[in-house]
Symmetry: D2
Subunit: 356 residues, 4 copies
């Protein structure tokens, strides 16, 4: 287990704490060994109310008692937090997150606002923990004492973990990705029920662009002042379906050096291990990838809880008539694909010494 | 309107009439201008009961009165029918349909049993009405007075109509197809509710093989004694989602002669017309393809009823980073993709003179 | 058929036309024999746009062409309409509907704003067409040239039709009513999908009060200056379930003069006919009540379309251990329980001569 | 904590282990402090296979490793088990459970087969632990060394706990109960998805009879040779809705000695404690009843996990215009209402000394 454990816990704020992702941060930080929530921020409507009053709690486990009594404050850096988890909408994140970074905070953001910036890492600890080296450049360029780190879009998350394992072993040339995404990905109130009962919505605004970009950044190389995208091209179709939690992605991939036998790809996926610095963090899933062999798996209702929602679940590995392999990837979108991913990133930053 | 109209109606049987697809045949043949149902066949459990007694009706319009009183008979050719619509399971169809063909019946089958046979056409009147020329070969080779014609698998149906329009204009090289299929495609009782509520099943047995084969047969060339498959390769992922009716398919396609502007592909889709012999049949959808321009369409709940469920609905035409174009196709799986498709085929056969 | 038929059609406005109920008005007034839509009103956000631009159409049949081109206007009486169908929210209806009534319009309202007023009828043509006699009092008291008529809440609608048949035959003392209501009853965007997928919401604000009051007003007596409520007491629990359209209500009833055999109650329900003045109007369902005998009916998906959504569907009539009878009532909430009910009311008013 | 704890664990069999309820037994007995599974029985189709091979696992947590390797055996008493948990269908339970009782086993059954027998208790440890005194009579009358104890039907379970608290305080005269039941209550494959998507089924075979009988037996008095039913009459409507787990029941109740203020009823519910012998058993929920004060609670998706699925959740306590009070009760149907209930019963039997 990681080194930090015995020290006093690090004071953290949750920005945009009353929304669906904010609630997940509250839930997942309950009794966290390293982090202690000291502030919950919200919009004008919520400020001054207790969290219990301000928040329409939508999770299936009760709100922790400690959270209910915290008075919601404005989204402005205070004196106590050293780390801020951001569940802000992108438009607000663009303004607010830099204020926290400037004030010396480490910002671990779930927002998309800065993911395309050349000096901001999109981070998955199992995939690209070395990408945090860009933070020196980020601080210098922007004159910040703190910094911003982002986790990828919820759909990019699981597929990038699986693609990383395959890229390491066989190289990646082309990726087709078609998602079947859960309604919780749109937040609350989010998708109107009339739009999704007995229905599919074959469109999620801005999502295909993210899925075609973010994995290439994470699978690429960090350099002194930016990132070189991975060479693989990605084509994405993104769909909303009547699932509460868990994004399913159908992938077809072309390798640079295809294995003679797909069983080898299966072994590569099942055996993938995180870099040492990420492997033993409190939120690290073990194993990183669950490879299911049932012909009809993974399924979101049955398989989204692997690794307490932090694991990547893969199944249906089989040949593709056009490219080399087909597979299906499942990842919990509000745990691993949102709050849990940010927390795992923060643990990595602690371990790497960025929070001293 | 077509020529047959004024003659007495052709007596037809529905084979396997008590199941979900059988019920659609009954519903769609109610007051059909050319066909009159004279027999409804069923399994041992149903024989001797009236259709009203034997059938657990699952459609949202009431069972026609004339059908409720018909006594269910065994699936054996009788003396009166000249045309048999088959809603049989594949395993039973393999035995029973040839008996009807031998007895002189035209069999229009929704079953998959004979779709791969080199002398059996898989038929969509808007796509390949000329493929019925193989029936001479079929009769001669098998010594039948009648013949068997099939309609494609419900997922192949809509995508093949759209691909035909594109192939005619630009040629087709590669097709990626990922389906989000309705539960009614599995019949009744079909998919257990525990398997699909808050869930996706990323697997439908045998379906991907059908979707990778049947469109190529329909888009290919009929020859004296068989078919030459279209050269385009197809890669398919098939998924079950919580939708009652309407299969959605995400397509990425590579053209042989790509248009300089995708708007041209839109005009080709919207302007596609059926061959003259198919265009004015009673079940012909007009237009053949509805091209929707809303950014989030087609959607099964909203758009499956276009053309009374017989039309192909296309939307989200846009560039693809790997191939040339992405699009989304929707087709009503139990109307166009099953019973309605068989009936439209039968109308074509009448028009072509195969039922004299 | 009713007398009005050959005259020129009456010009009508739809107030609040862009919402879900407003859309139903547009759909159901398409090709109406008596009424012609001349104005569609909306909120500031919509005014000046065409209806096609302003409206997020959520119905499963396409928007009529004539409607798409109408420019949305403010909700203020114009010079042309003689009849206004109101799909306004209650808070806006309270201000706007009197302006139309004052200007001489007949207002047929789906809003709850005036249902509790002693001089405003809550009207179901099969149940209480005589209640329109209060309109003389309403005009005089309020100094209006026109008037306001309301249709009941969607949950009260079907149960009141069934209760009317039973009250006429056996008298009514007590009614227990537990509803399972469709999401469309909450409008659009209405119920968030996260609140209803894999869930039940046992609460709908203000609904139980309506269901405990409105049927008693309709089943009561009209007097010169008000209404005497029916003596039966009603206890209601109202629930939201994952159904798109169709409200199901479980009823237990105590009669004043119970039949010796419940089969007699069945005959009374199945044989119930509307008063003569209501029976042949264009929107009149025939029969008024469909009595289903299957042990598991009515069901919303299968049975909501009886009488084009205007009929009341009843099933599961059986003894009650505490009161006299249990039954289940189904009614289409956005057709019969909203726009269709208002239109049927307007037809009655024409037939009664209130629109000369 | 209870006395048994330090002894070696009691060997138990699960009868009918491959079905949905059988799987819950396996899951809930994983690492149980008192019980150790030594046999899993199944039908001819499963016998001789390992449990992993024979079982289509439908739960959302993985099958325990120890269970996967057990070879499924016939449903016949063996030499090792002293306790048998029965997840058998009623028709098979009627034959098989007596064989186990005769062989000396304590049978804790989820089946309905013996619930109506005058010498078989229907048991909820928080409600009627004293009812096990009938077992002496049962053994003597039937000549068994063991005995059969049943848990109630899943819908009766939660409502009986709430009614017990109210009966103790105020007496009970009349109860109206309308259920909205989860699909998992019908087992697997159970409810076809076409029957429940966008639908309600207002009928569950045999269910209303159970709900009108079982609570009265549990709320009644045990005597030397049978039970005196509680005097309260119950009227039940039972419905199936699109919920995976958690039965919601709307209750209206008439008291013998109504409280002057319903807040007192709230205090009675929230403060209800199990009899001392049941209060500290391993599966005992603490508190017994969660009283929720949110206006729209309980909801199955949000509240079914209270007390690890063993608690009774109550909300919406309010006056009733006909009787005295309305309330809503939620209970987890496959945990508390099935396997978990049987296990809690078995713990009570151990504590009472019936398993020595």
């Amino acid at each position: 287990m990681a080194q930090h454990q015995s020290n006093p816990r690090i004071p953290v704020s949750i920005l945009g704490a009353t929304g669906a992702v904010g609630q997940r941060f509250v839930q997942l930080l309950d009794r966290h060994p390293w982090f202690e929530v000291v502030a919950l921020t919200g919009s004008d409507r919520s400020i001054g109310q207790t969290y219990a009053e301000a928040c329409h709690w939508v999770l299936t486990s009760p709100m922790p008692d400690w959270a209910g009594g915290i008075v919601v404050t404005p989204t402005q850096p205070g004196s106590s937090e050293r780390l801020a988890f951001s569940a802000l909408p992108a438009s607000i994140a663009r303004e607010a997150e830099p204020l926290y970074a400037q004030a010396g905070c480490a910002v671990c953001s779930n927002a998309s606002a800065f993911r395309q910036e050349p000096d901001v890492p999109v981070l998955l600890p199992e995939v690209n923990p070395d990408h945090t080296s860009i933070l020196s450049c980020q601080r210098q360029r922007r004159g910040w004492k703190g910094f911003i780190v982002t986790n990828p879009n919820c759909t990019s998350t699981g597929m990038t973990v699986a693609l990383k394992a395959l890229q390491d072993a066989f190289g990646l040339e082309k990726v087709f990705a078609v998602s079947l995404q859960a309604i919780s990905g749109a937040g609350y109130p989010g998708v109107p029920s009339l739009d999704i009962l007995d229905n599919v919505i074959p469109y999620i605004e801005g999502e295909e662009e993210k899925v075609e970009f973010e994995p290439r950044k994470m699978l690429g190389q960090v350099q002194a002042d930016g990132f070189q995208l991975a060479k693989c091209k990605i084509s994405a179709h993104t769909n909303r379906v009547a699932v509460s939690e868990g994004h399913t992605v159908c992938l077809s991939v072309e390798f640079s050096r295809p294995p003679s036998d797909l069983a080898e790809a299966g072994r590569v996926l099942a055996g993938y291990s995180a870099p040492a610095i990420s492997a033993d963090l409190p939120s690290a899933p073990r194993p990183v990838i669950h490879l299911l062999t049932g012909p009809d798996r993974p399924q979101p209702r049955l398989d989204r809880q692997f690794g307490a929602g932090m694991a990547t679940v893969v199944g249906r590995l089989r040949p593709d008539p056009l490219l080399h392999a087909k597979l299906v990837v499942l990842s919990h979108n509000t745990v691993r694909g949102a709050a849990g991913g940010s927390i795992y990133n923060a643990e990595l930053l602690v371990q790497q010494g960025w929070l001293v």
